[in-house]
C-alpha cells in the first residue's frame, strides 16, 4: 500500500507541489497527467525519496520515507523501487543482460542467479536471445523494453515511469506501454506512470490529473 498524505514542496518560496494526497493498493497502476511545471517531477522525486517534502508523508507498506536517512533511503530504493526514464539511461558499457542484472547485483545477488533472472526478464519483454548484445545495437523501442526489464527484475513494490514513451514513435510507444502495464500487473507491483500524453495515460487502470490544487480523478 502506498499512502501519500498532504505532500507539499516549494523552491525559493515558490510552491511546486501543494497538499497532494494519494492512496494506491497493491497491483494498482495509475497514470498522472498534468501541464508542464505543475509539479509532476517534484511529486515523483518525493515518492522516490530523492527529495524531502516540506510537509506531508510518503508511506510505502507502513514505512515512512521521511523518517529514513539518506543511506536508508538508498537501500529502500534498491529493494522497493523500479524506475523507467524517458531517455532510457541504459549503461552503454554493459551488455543488455548486465544492464538488467544491475539491480540484482546491487542487492548482492550471485552472478549466475542474477544472470538467469535477467535473461528471463529479457525474454519476458521480447528480447530473447539478445542478452549479450550491446545497447548501441538496439533501437529506441528496444532500449525502453530493456529499461522495463531492469525496472522489474528485482520484483520492486513500486514502479515509477517518467514519460517512458517521450522518445518513441507512436507504434513503439503503444507496444512499450502495453508491455509496461502487463509486466507491472504481472508482478503485482504498484505502478505510477507520469505523462503528458492522454493516449499513454489511457493504458493505465486510472488517470489522475495533477493541478495546482492537488490530484484529481
Amino acid at each position: 500500500m502506498l499512502e501519500i498524505t498532504n505532500l507539499s514542496r516549494s523552491f525559493n518560496g515558490r510552491p511546486a507541489l501543494h497538499s497532494t494526497s494519494l492512496r494506491l493498493a497493491e497491483g494498482e497502476y495509475v497514470a498522472i497527467v498534468g501541464e508542464s511545471g505543475v509539479g509532476k517531477s517534484t511529486l515523483l522525486n518525493l515518492i522516490a525519496g530523492l527529495d524531502r517534502a516540506d510537509q506531508g508523508n510518503v508511506v510505502l507498506d507502513g514505512e515512512d520515507l521521511g523518517r529514513l536517512d539518506e543511506a536508508a533511503l538508498t537501500r529502500w530504493r534498491r529493494h522497493k523501487l523500479g524506475f523507467i526514464f524517458q531517455a532510457f539511461h541504459i549503461l552503454p558499457h554493459l551488455t543488455l543482460q548486465q544492464n538488467v542484472a544491475l539491480p540484482l547485483w546491487l542487492q548482492g545477488g550471485s552472478g549466475a542467479a542474477a544472470d538467469d533472472s535477467a535473461r528471463q526478464m529479457l525474454d519476458a519483454v521480447g528480447l530473447a536471445g539478445r542478452a549479450a548484445s550491446w545497447p548501441h545495437e538496439l533501437s529506441g523501442g528496444e532500449l525502453q523494453r530493456v529499461a522495463i526489464a531492469r525496472a522489474l527484475v528485482h520484483r520492486p513494490r513500486l514502479v515509477l515511469a517518467d514519460e517512458p514513451t517521450g522518445n518513441l514513435d507512436p507504434a513503439n510507444a503503444t507496444r512499450v506501454l502495453d508491455l509496461l502495464g502487463e509486466r507491472i500487473r504481472a508482478a503485482g507491483a504498484i505502478g505510477i506512470l507520469v505523462t503528458h500524453s492522454r493516449e499513454a495515460a489511457a493504458t493505465a487502470d486510472r488517470i489522475l490529473q495533477l493541478t495546482p490544487d492537488g490530484l484529481q480523478e
Partner: protein, 830 residues
C-alpha cells in the same frame, strides 16, 4: 573566423585541462630552448676565444699536454712554405684559493704581433718598455682580473709543481673579449716558472703567400715527431662541439619528454572534449559544416594551445638560460667549459624553431581526436546520448607489436655523427608500441573483474574499461608515458650510480690519496717530493700516477694517458671482458677508445711517446667514467723509460697502521708549503664524487617530477571533464539505489585501474627504455657501459603513489558530478 567562438571558445570552457596541456608544452619548450641557448652561448664564446688565440694563424702544430721539444720550432722556421711561426707554451695554472684554473699563455711578443695581435699585452706603466719581457710579470684579461679578484700591480700567487711562486700583474690584455679569462706572459718566463724549459705546447703558423695551407698539410706532417699534429685553429672548436654534442642532445631529449607529455595532455583533453561535444558536432554537421572544416577547427584548438605554449616557453627558456648561465656556467656545471663566461644572445632561427615545436606538439595532440570527431556519423551522434560509441577504439595490437619489433631492430643502428639516433628512435617506437597495445592489454586485464567481480563498483568499473578501451587509452596514455620515462630514468640513474660507486671502490683501494692539483694543471709532484713522500714514516705501499694527454689522430680530441704500476693481468683495473696478456708492452684501453678508435683486445697499436711511435698490445678494456674522449693506461716504469718524464701527479698510499692514517696524512701535507698538497681518504673522494653525481641528476629528477605532476594534473583534468559527461549515468545509478559511496568507489576503482594499467605498461616500457638508455644511448653518447640495477623499493613506492593519486584524482573529479542535482539530471523535464 566566424566559427572561432564555437571551437576556440571551448578551450576556455575546459580551463583546467587546457591549462595543464599549456603548462606541459611551456615546460618542454622552455627547457629545450634554455639548453640550446646556453650551449650556443657557450660554444660561441669558446669559438670567439679560439679565434682570439689563433688570430691570423692558418694552421698550428699541437702535441701532448706536457709539450714537445722546442727544437722543432727552429726546424719549422726553415720550412719554405711558412711565413711566420710563433711558439706558445700553454699552462692551466692552479691559483691558491681558486677552483677554476687560469689559462696562461707563454708567448714570444715579437712574432705574436703578426699572428695574434689581439693577445698582445699592454703594460700599465708606459715607462716600463720591457715589462712584457720581465720573468715574473703576467698580464691578465679583464675577465681574469675580475674572476681572480686582482688588479694591475697586485701580486698573483700561482702553483708550479708543489711550489708557490708569486707573479706580478703588470697589465691587461685589451684585445681579449670580456667573457674570456686569460693570462699572457713571456715564453721564457713561463717556461722557467712552470718547469717547462725546452718544451712548447704549440706553434701557430702563417703560411707563405707562395704556398697554401693544403700544400703545407701535405708536406709537413712527415717531418714531424710522433704525437705532434698539424691542425686548423678551428679544430678545437669542432672538438669541443663534438664533445658537448651528446650531452646537449641528451638534455634536449629531457626537454622533449616534457614536450611529449604536453602533446599527450593535448590529446587527452581534446579526445575527451570531442566525446563531450559529439552532439554539438553532429548538429553542426547537420547544419552543413564540412568534415574538413570540422577537422581544421579542431586542429586549430590544439594549435592555439601549442602556439601559446611555444611563445611563453621560449620567453621562459631565455629567462632560464640567463639564470643558469649566471649560476652554473655554459656547461650547466658539467665541466666542458670551465672558466668561460658566455653571454646570452637572441637567436631568431632557434627561437622560431622552438615556437614551431610547441605548435607541432599541440597539432600532434589534436590530430587523432579531430579525425575521430569527423568520422562520427551525425545521425548516430544526434540519436545516442552515451559516450561508449565514441570511446570504442579500433584496436591495433599488431601495429603495437610491429612498433616493438622495430624498436628492437633500431637499437642496433650505429651512432650517426656521434649521436645515438637509433637509440632515440627505439625509445619513440617502444613508447608508441606500448600505447598501441594498451587497449588490448586493458581489455584483457580487466575482463576477469567484469565477469567475476562480486562488488558492484568493481563490476561497473571493469565493465567500462572492457567495453570502452578507448577510454583507457585516453586516460592511461599520459600516465604510461610519464611513468615509462620516469622509470627509465630511475633505472638508468640507479644503474649508473651503483656502477660508479663500484668503480670508485675498485679504483681507490689505498688508504690515502695525495695530489698537488688537477691532472692537467701546473701542479705536479717533482722527483724530490716523490722521494720525500716515500721516506715519510708509516707508509707501507706507495704508487705514483702520471697523467698525460696524447694526440692520436687528425681532428680527434686528445686522449688521456695514465701511467701507474700495473699488474700483468690487469687485476687492479675495472676490466670489462677478459684480459689478454702479451709479450709486447701492454696498454689497457677504456671503452671510449674501443668505441671511437675501434681498438680491440689483442690488437697491436702505436702510441706516440717521447717523440717516437712505440708499439703496444691492447691487453684489455677497462671502464672509465671520467673521460668520454678515451683513456689509455700503461705501466709507470715503462712510461718513464720511454719518455724520460719523472714527474707524477698523484700518489696512492697504503699505511702500516690504518688507525694512524690521520697522522700520516698530516705528515704528507706538511711536505709542501701552504696548502699545495691535497690529501684525501678514498671514502671522502667517493662521498664527494657521489655527491657531485647526485647533484647533477637532482636537476633531472626535479624536471621529471615537474613533468609527472603536470601529467597527473592533466589526467585529473581529463577525469573531471569525463565525469561531467557522466552526470546522467551517476543520476540513474542513484535512482537504482547505488549509494554515493559506491559511485565514489567505482570512480576510484576506474581511476586506479586506468592508472594501474598505465603504471604497469609504463613500468614495462620504462624497463625497456632504461635498457636502451644504458646499452645504446649512454654507450653511444658517452662510451661507457654500466651494470643493470633496479631500484625496486623506489619503483614500487612510485607505482603505488601514482595509482593512489590517480584514484584520488578520479574521485575528486567525480565529486562534482555526484552532487544531488546530478541525481536529477536523468529527468528530461526538470
Amino acid at each position: 573566423m566566424t566559427l572561432a567562438p564555437v571551437f576556440l571558445g571551448s578551450l576556455g570552457r575546459r580551463r583546467m585541462a587546457s591549462l595543464f596541456s599549456l603548462l606541459a608544452i611551456i615546460l618542454g619548450v622552455a627547457l629545450g630552448m634554455a639548453v640550446q641557448a646556453i650551449h650556443e652561448a657557450a660554444l660561441n664564446e669558446f669559438g670567439r676565444g679560439v679565434r682570439t688565440l689563433a688570430g691570423e694563424a692558418d694552421l698550428r702544430l699541437v702535441g701532448p699536454a706536457s709539450g714537445f721539444d722546442e727544437a722543432l720550432f727552429e726546424q719549422i722556421l726553415r720550412h719554405p712554405d711558412i711565413a711566420v711561426a710563433t711558439p706558445i707554451v700553454e699552462i692551466d695554472a692552479k691559483l691558491a684559493g681558486h677552483e677554476p684554473l687560469l689559462k696562461v699563455l707563454g708567448v714570444d711578443i715579437f712574432t705574436l704581433a703578426r699572428v695574434a695581435p689581439r693577445l698582445l699585452p699592454q703594460s700599465h706603466d708606459r715607462t716600463e718598455r720591457f715589462a712584457t719581457l720581465a720573468e715574473a710579470s703576467i698580464f691578465l684579461s679583464a675577465a681574469a682580473q675580475q674572476a681572480y679578484g686582482v688588479r694591475t700591480g697586485d701580486p698573483l700567487p700561482v702553483q708550479a709543481g708543489s711550489r708557490t711562486l708569486t707573479l706580478r700583474v703588470a697589465g691587461d690584455l685589451p684585445g681579449v673579449g670580456d667573457g674570456q679569462p686569460l693570462a699572457v706572459m713571456d715564453i721564457a718566463g713561463a717556461q722557467l716558472a712552470f718547469g717547462r724549459l725546452g718544451k712548447l705546447s704549440r706553434i701557430d703558423l702563417i703560411v707563405a703567400d707562395s704556398s697554401s695551407p693544403e700544400s703545407l698539410r701535405r708536406s709537413l706532417p712527415a717531418t714531424l715527431p710522433a704525437g705532434v699534429q698539424l691542425e686548423a685553429p678551428e679544430a678545437a672548436s669542432e672538438q669541443s662541439g663534438n664533445l658537448t654534442r651528446a650531452y646537449r642532445v641528451n638534455l634536449a631529449m629531457l626537454a622533449a619528454i616534457a614536450l611529449l607529455t604536453g602533446a599527450f595532455l593535448v590529446f587527452s583533453a581534446q579526445a575527451l572534449s570531442v566525446v563531450k561535444r559529439r552532439s554539438e558536432f553532429a548538429f553542426l554537421r547537420a547544419l552543413g559544416l564540412e568534415r574538413t572544416t570540422l577537422i581544421r577547427w579542431l586542429l586549430a584548438e590544439g594549435a592555439l594551445v601549442g602556439l601559446l605554449g611555444g611563445l611563453i616557453g621560449v620567453m621562459l627558456g631565455y629567462g632560464l638560460a640567463w639564470v643558469a648561465l649566471q649560476a652554473l656556467g655554459g656547461d650547466l656545471g658539467a665541466g666542458y667549459f670551465s672558466g668561460l663566461q658566455p653571454q646570452l644572445e637572441f637567436k631568431p632561427a632557434l627561437t622560431a624553431l622552438y615556437i614551431m615545436l610547441g605548435l607541432l606538439a599541440g597539432l600532434a595532440g589534436a590530430a587523432l581526436p579531430a579525425r575521430q570527431a569527423a568520422d562520427i556519423s551525425p545521425a548516430q551522434a544526434l540519436k545516442s546520448s552515451g559516450d561508449a560509441l565514441a570511446l570504442h577504439s579500433h584496436q591495433r595490437p599488431w601495429a603495437g607489436l610491429l612498433a616493438l619489433t622495430a624498436s628492437l631492430a633500431t637499437c642496433f643502428i650505429p651512432p650517426l655523427g656521434g649521436l645515438p639516433v637509433g637509440g632515440y628512435a627505439a625509445i619513440a617506437l617502444l613508447l608508441a608500441g606500448s600505447i598501441l597495445l594498451l587497449p588490448a592489454v586493458a581489455q584483457r586485464l580487466t575482463q576477469p573483474f567484469a565477469e567475476r567481480g562480486k562488488a558492484v563498483p568493481w563490476r561497473l568499473a571493469a565493465a567500462r574499461l572492457v567495453s570502452a578501451p578507448g577510454y583507457a587509452v585516453v586516460a592511461a596514455a599520459g600516465v604510461l608515458t610519464s611513468v615509462a620515462l620516469a622509470v627509465a630514468m630511475a633505472i638508468m640513474v640507479a644503474s649508473f650510480r651503483e656502477s660508479v660507486d663500484e668503480w670508485l671502490v675498485q679504483l681507490l683501494p689505498a688508504d690515502l690519496y695525495l695530489r698537488a692539483g688537477r691532472a692537467q694543471s701546473s701542479a705536479y709532484l717533482g722527483e724530490e717530493l716523490q722521494a720525500a713522500i716515500a721516506d715519510t714514516p708509516g707508509i707501507k705501499r706507495l704508487e705514483f700516477t702520471r697523467h698525460e694527454q696524447l694526440r692520436l689522430g687528425d681532428g680527434q680530441a686528445p686522449v688521456a694517458l695514465i701511467a701507474r704500476p700495473l699488474a700483468a693481468d690487469g687485476s687492479s683495473l675495472p676490466l670489462v671482458g677478459q684480459a689478454q696478456p702479451s709479450r709486447l708492452p701492454a696498454v689497457w684501453i677504456s671503452e671510449a677508445m674501443a668505441d671511437q678508435f675501434g681498438w680491440q683486445t689483442g690488437q697491436v697499436v702505436a702510441l706516440p711517446l717521447g717523440g717516437m711511435r712505440r708499439e703496444f698490445q691492447v691487453n684489455g678494456v677497462w671502464r672509465d667514467y671520467s673521460r668520454q674522449t678515451g683513456a689509455l693506461m700503461i705501466d709507470l716504469a715503462l712510461y718513464r723509460q720511454l719518455t724520460g718524464d719523472q714527474r707524477v701527479n698523484d700518489a696512492a698510499i697504503s699505511v702500516d697502521n690504518p688507525d694512524a692514517s690521520a697522522q700520516v696524512a698530516s705528515r704528507l701535507g706538511a711536505l709542501a708549503e701552504g696548502n699545495a698538497l691535497e690529501v684525501a681518504r678514498p671514502g671522502e673522494i667517493r662521498r664527494i664524487s657521489l655527491a657531485i653525481f647526485d647533484r647533477t641528476f637532482a636537476v633531472t629528477y626535479l624536471l621529471e617530477a615537474v613533468a609527472i605532476v603536470i601529467g597527473l594534473a592533466g589526467v585529473a583534468a581529463s577525469f573531471a571533464s569525463l565525469a561531467a559527461t557522466r552526470r546522467k549515468e551517476f543520476g540513474m545509478l542513484r535512482h537504482l539505489g547505488v549509494s554515493r559511496a559506491q559511485i565514489g568507489t567505482m570512480l576510484a576503482l576506474e581511476g586506479g585501474l586506468v592508472a594501474g594499467i598505465g603504471v604497469l605498461g609504463g613500468g614495462l616500457a620504462g624497463a625497456g627504455i632504461g635498457l636502451i638508455l644504458i646499452d645504446v644511448v649512454n654507450r653511444q653518447s658517452f662510451h661507457w657501459s654500466m651494470d643493470l640495477h633496479f631500484p625496486w623499493a623506489g619503483l614500487l613506492l612510485f607505482a603505488g603513489t601514482m595509482i593512489a593519486l590517480a584514484a584520488l584524482a578520479a574521485v575528486l573529479a567525480g565529486r562534482q558530478a555526484m552532487r544531488q542535482d546530478a541525481v536529477l539530471a536523468v529527468r528530461e523535464d526538470w
